[in-house]
């Protein structure tokens, strides 16, 4: 019986080639657009993860604090905020010297004015601008602390970029989902109407809605799966072309490909069910 449904779906696709081809092309276009955006999102996330790893809070310490005090504070900070690295005055001067590079300029400085510091790599949940600001305020309360820096403006801009990408992904995702639902809804409706005579006969012979609908649902799933596969191939080709001409970007990992495919097939199923629920009531006597 199950083979019958697949045979019927394939028969319908073959018989209404034009309709099926139009649906597949329309879906492929929408899914390629979605795929490109998913690819951009994926690469943006990779980049942001790299950049995000560099987010840190630097806590400058007063010169007069004792080693025991400093060790106790480091222990406390590790408990509260994340990984803490201690940079003493000499190390700070060495890093500063490497950054300046000009020995004459460095000789003009009298002694080592740089303070020792803690560099804190924050826990993941503390990496937003608001959380980092709150952490900075808390750190200012420690009596051993001279000053706290975390590059507020830079973090705020980074957060804005992340929010923009997330919103863009959501908006494009919703638009593409609507496009998929509309294209498949209309395709299935037209497919049923084109086979109205057959549906009427089946209904009069006692076919249940499920019996009539299943081949149409399979038809929608096949068309959506073909369109998703073609769209992924197109996105892969675009990624390869981009890598060859511009900068290296990563293709989607297998989990993202599976999720993309699953979402498309899920939407196809939903669209087909919505269309059939309405059209069978209109067609079946």
């Amino acid at each position: 019986m199950r083979i019958y449904y697949f045979v019927e779906a394939w028969r319908s696709i073959r018989r209404h080639r034009g309709l099926a081809t139009t649906a597949i092309l329309g879906l492929t276009a929408a899914l390629t657009l979605a795929g490109v955006f998913v690819l951009l999102t994926h690469n943006a996330r990779l980049t942001l993860r790299l950049v995000g790893d560099r987010r840190e809070v630097v806590v400058y310490l007063k010169d007069e604090i004792a080693r025991e005090q400093r060790d106790a504070m480091q222990h406390r900070l590790e408990q509260l905020y994340g990984q803490v690295a201690y940079v003493d005055k000499d190390q700070a001067w060495q890093e500063f010297s490497e950054q300046i590079g000009d020995p004459d300029l460095l000789q003009a400085v009298d002694g080592n004015p740089l303070p020792a510091s803690f560099r804190i790599k924050l826990k993941a949940e503390l990496l937003s601008f608001n959380a980092m600001s709150a952490v900075a305020k808390q750190l200012q309360q420690f009596p051993e602390v001279e000053d706290v820096r975390f590059g507020g403006d830079w973090v705020r801009r980074l957060d804005d970029v992340i929010r923009g990408i997330q919103t863009g992904t959501l908006v494009v995702g919703i638009l593409v989902a609507l496009a998929i639902v509309l294209v498949l809804h209309n395709t299935i409706r037209l497919s049923v109407l084109a086979r109205r005579h057959q549906v009427e006969i089946m209904s009069r012979l006692g076919a249940t809605d499920r019996f009539i609908a299943t081949p149409f649902v399979i038809e929608a799933l096949i068309e959506a799966a073909i369109a998703a596969a073609v769209a992924l191939l197109a996105v892969f080709a675009l990624q390869q072309a981009f890598v060859a001409r511009f900068v290296p970007i990563a293709f989607l990992p297998p989990t993202w490909i599976l999720a993309f495919f699953g979402a498309v097939v899920g939407l196809a199923w939903l669209s087909a069910m919505l269309a059939l629920n309405r059209v069978l009531r209109a067609v079946g006597p």
Binding site: I201, M202, R204, L205, G206, A207, D209, F211
Partner: protein
């Protein structure tokens, strides 16, 4: 088996059936004779729940009146075998596939049972040798025999025939009527509607004449002696 109690059907202002009551029992042969627009096909459409009565009750077996759900309606139709004047075959399927469709819809038989059942039904109507033909390759009489094979393939308790010879020339019509009589003789109840009194005479059974939505002559309930198929 099938009972109409004071059934009224209106299409807008027009009364198509006017307080019609009649009954048929298992294994009976009932014929409605009447002109176009008399209400014959409306009776069949009420039985198959394509339409609902405006008033009164239509009972078919255990389905007693009222609006059925879509699944119940499908179940009801699977207990009936229906033959139409215009055959209603699927033009892109072979004879075998047209008949097999009814078996698959019935859903009561396994895949391995489809082929023997279909071949048996086609053998019954004398079209086993045409199983791979398309309907367009058949004569009108042969197409109606395919429709009959499709109607009987699930061994329904009742066969409904709507002008089964209406589109056929005399020889094919005679063959189809002989076939229907044989199927009735094998135990199926037969409800046939026709414009032609000759067809009613040829098929035998209990005839009722319907005019302007009313049964004007004939016995509306089965006589005790008339029950059951002819021996």
């Amino acid at each position: 088996m099938i009972t109409f109690q004071q059934v009224v059907k209106r299409h807008g202002e027009r009364v198509v059936l006017d307080h019609v009551s009649w009954r048929m029992d298992e294994g009976e042969c009932v014929v409605f004779v009447g002109q176009s627009g008399a209400g014959k096909t409306t009776i069949l459409r009420l039985i198959t729940h394509e339409i609902q009565p405006s008033a009164g009750v239509v009972s078919i077996g255990t389905f007693r009146g009222g609006r059925l759900s879509r699944n119940q309606r499908a179940l009801l139709r699977r207990t009936l075998g229906i033959i139409y004047e215009d055959f209603r075959l699927l033009s892109d399927r072979t004879v075998f596939e047209n008949v097999a469709l009814a078996v698959r819809i019935c859903g009561s038989f396994g895949t391995e049972e489809v082929i023997p059942r279909v071949l048996y039904a086609l053998d019954e109507v004398g079209l086993k040798h045409k199983q791979t033909s398309l309907p367009s390759e058949l004569s009108a009489g042969e197409r109606q025999r395919v429709a009959i094979a499709r109607a009987i393939v699930n061994r329904p308790a009742v066969i409904l025939a709507d002008e089964p010879t209406g589109a056929l020339e005399a020889k094919s019509a005679g063959e189809v009527l002989t076939l229907l009589k044989r199927i009735h003789a094998e135990g199926a109840a037969l409800l046939l509607v026709t414009k032609s009194p000759e067809v009613a005479d040829a098929i035998g059974g209990r005839a009722m004449t319907i005019e302007d939505g009313r049964i004007v002559s004939g016995q509306t309930t089965p006589a005790p002696a008339a029950m059951g198929p002819p021996s």
